[in-house]
């Protein structure tokens, strides 16, 4: 059985939690360090995944870039929707591009730049897509007082599954280590895909 854990094994996963597919629509969601993003995307590509979208969310700790992947065939014991999350800061938001791995990500990344101002390094055609070129604002960035902490949302997830290493030991609470601003910690949902397979 090839589960999401096998798929992303060996990568420096900051944290992941359990969330049921019925509840949040994805079977695996992990927080990654930026340097691991391209490696994770390559693995997903080799495993036959396709890209659904790339989007951002503005949190107090920084801008979180979210990647959704899904599988066309998904055999019974295979996880379907996989979410990768990376965190980047507000001052100079930058994330490596995955548009050379998943060509479709190219447009989604450009859209993400339009809305959030996130730069995707080494993107071959990096220019505005949906918004006019002379428009210099990023409409989905929130005013500072409206930004919520990332950990507020993490707390809503079910038990955190700490992944190797003390650094990532993470308690799902609002009082979580906010000082660790630059290293994306934390979590999101995960399940082994079992509940999924029963349905399919």
């Amino acid at each position: 059985m090839k589960t999401s854990e096998n798929l992303l094994e060996g990568l420096d996963i900051c944290a992941q939690t359990r969330c049921r597919y019925e509840q949040c629509g994805c079977v695996t969601a992990v927080f990654l360090d930026q340097v691991q993003l391209r490696a994770a995307a390559s693995r997903l590509f080799e495993a036959g995944y396709h890209i659904e979208d790339v989007t951002g969310v503005d949190f107090a700790e920084g801008i979180e870039v979210i990647y959704h992947f899904d599988h066309f065939d998904h055999p019974v014991d295979y996880p379907a929707r996989v979410t990768l999350r990376v965190l980047t800061d507000h001052e100079s938001p930058e994330v490596p591009t995955i548009s050379d791995i998943f060509s479709g990500a190219g447009w989604h990344e450009r859209e993400c730049f339009d809305f959030f101002g996130v730069t995707f390094s080494d993107h071959p055609q990096f220019r505005p897509l949906l918004l006019p070129a002379e428009f210099d604002q990023h409409p989905l960035l929130k005013p500072e007082k409206n930004r919520e902490s990332l950990y507020v949302f993490l707390g809503a997830c079910e038990p955190v599954k700490p992944v190797k290493g003390e650094r990532y030991h993470f308690e799902a609470s609002v009082e979580a280590p906010v000082e660790a601003q630059k290293t994306p910690e934390a979590l999101a949902s995960s399940d082994t895909g079992q509940s999924r397979s029963e349905k399919a």
């Binding site: 629509g25 979208d53 066309f72 447009w107 220019r127 897509l129 949906l130 919520e148 507020v152 949302f153």
Partner: protein, 386 residues
């Protein structure tokens, strides 16, 4: 060549700057944004080598309305009418994607009757969407008559949908926990007649158009999309199934009562414009099948959950919900902070991914074939720009 920079806008300049030194002097032209074959305001910059396209780049955003920002400002109820305006041809699928996401987030139960009503109306809307595409695509290719037939058929379906939803195009019919109004006997009888009509029409369309020699010349082996490339770009819907992959959200991620219904997922392995054409025509047949089954299985009961909340305040958390629209996988991703407006709302539109592969697909084709390829992708520009 130094005069190029004097004309054109930002995108033309970028496109010119990317021109190879050895190709300098090749003609660069704009197709659109008001070109009739681009169905709305899509613009494609193409570099021509004689009659052939050596490079192409779609320019979008002319219809951008920032639905995602509106989602963050409006409450969950207030945002519903927006969904009918994202994709005006298959509005009910967008309704469903959004409503479904919120229902999943709030764990709202939907009565069985409402699920069947949703299936019936959504599939009728799918037929309408495919009929518009069918007529318009053939119009692009120079055949005028088919659009008259298709709009004639579509009129009946639209009248029926108007009877229960109150609108003809931009529906806002689904509610959290059900649908707005129950369907009545007149609608059921009318829908049965419509199914009968479609069953007699589709074979006629096959004789009239699908087997037509001229159409085949314009579609076969045009714009061949390999499956690997479709996956790389995240293409879904008939575009993907035209490359031979039997992937349909209704089966892959079953929602509502679709698992109980018996229908096929048409897929054709050729990958050309004709394969995409065949998929959509075959899908109309399947939709008719689904509607007929649903009408037969329609249970009595509530059309709206009696305990559906008046004010939506979902718990904190995120949810991704996908449905199969006429153009592919429609995804709505909501992050809720527990208040009455979403913290973040992301709309994943299928045409967006489907169009992004056009630049690669059009390379080396005739300009006239590019029109055929664009048509075969079934683009709805408001959905791309959102």
């Amino acid at each position: 060549m130094t005069t190029e920079t004097l004309c054109g806008d930002f995108y033309t300049h970028c496109f010119q700057a990317e021109q190879d030194k050895e190709h300098e002097g090749r003609l660069i032209i704009n197709m659109g944004p008001q070109h009739p074959s681009t169905h709305g305001v899509l613009r494609v910059i193409v570099e021509m080598e004689g009659e052939y396209i050596s490079r192409a780049e779609p320019v979008i955003g002319y219809l951008h309305r920032m639905h995602e920002k509106m989602g963050e400002i409006k409450t969950y109820h207030q945002y519903m009418p927006n969904m009918g305006r994202v994709d005006y041809l298959h509005a009910l699928a967008w309704n469903w994607a959004y409503i479904g996401a919120v229902e999943k987030l709030c764990q709202i139960e939907v009565p069985r009757r409402a699920e069947f009503i949703r299936v019936i109306t959504c599939e009728m809307n799918r037929i309408c969407s495919h009929l518009v595409w069918w007529g318009a695509y053939l119009l692009d290719l120079g055949a005028f008559t088919p659009i008259m037939y298709s709009f004639d058929d579509r009129e009946q379906a639209v009248d029926l949908l108007q009877m229960i939803t109150g609108s003809r195009l931009t529906y806002c019919y689904y509610r959290f926990g059900g649908v707005r109004t129950d369907i009545n006997d007149a609608f059921i009888a009318g829908t049965r007649d419509f199914c009968k009509l479609m069953k007699s029409r589709l074979p006629m369309y096959k004789d009239l158009v699908t087997d037509n020699y001229i159409l085949r010349k314009r579609c076969e082996e045009i714009g061949v999309l390999p499956l690997e490339m479709a996956r790389r770009y995240g293409a879904t819907g008939p575009v993907l199934r035209g490359s031979g992959q039997k992937y349909d959200v209704r089966r892959a991620e079953p929602y509502s009562v679709y698992p109980e219904l018996d229908f096929e997922i048409p897929a054709f392995p050729e990958g050309d414009a004709m394969a995409r054409y065949r998929v959509r025509v075959a899908e109309m047949e399947q939709s008719v099948r689904i509607i007929e089954q649903s009408l037969n299985m329609l249970p009595q009961g509530d059309f709206m959950a009696p305990k559906s909340p008046k004010r939506i305040k979902p718990p904190k958390g995120d949810v991704y919900f996908a449905v199969e629209g006429a153009r592919g996988k429609i995804g709505v991703y909501i992050i809720s902070d527990g208040s009455s407006t979403p913290y973040r709302l992301k709309l994943r539109s299928p045409s967006y991914s489907n169009l992004s592969l056009f630049a690669e697909l059009a390379k080396g084709t005739l300009l006239a074939d590019a029109v055929s390829i664009l048509g075969s992708l079934d683009l709805v520009i408001p959905e791309i720009d959102r």
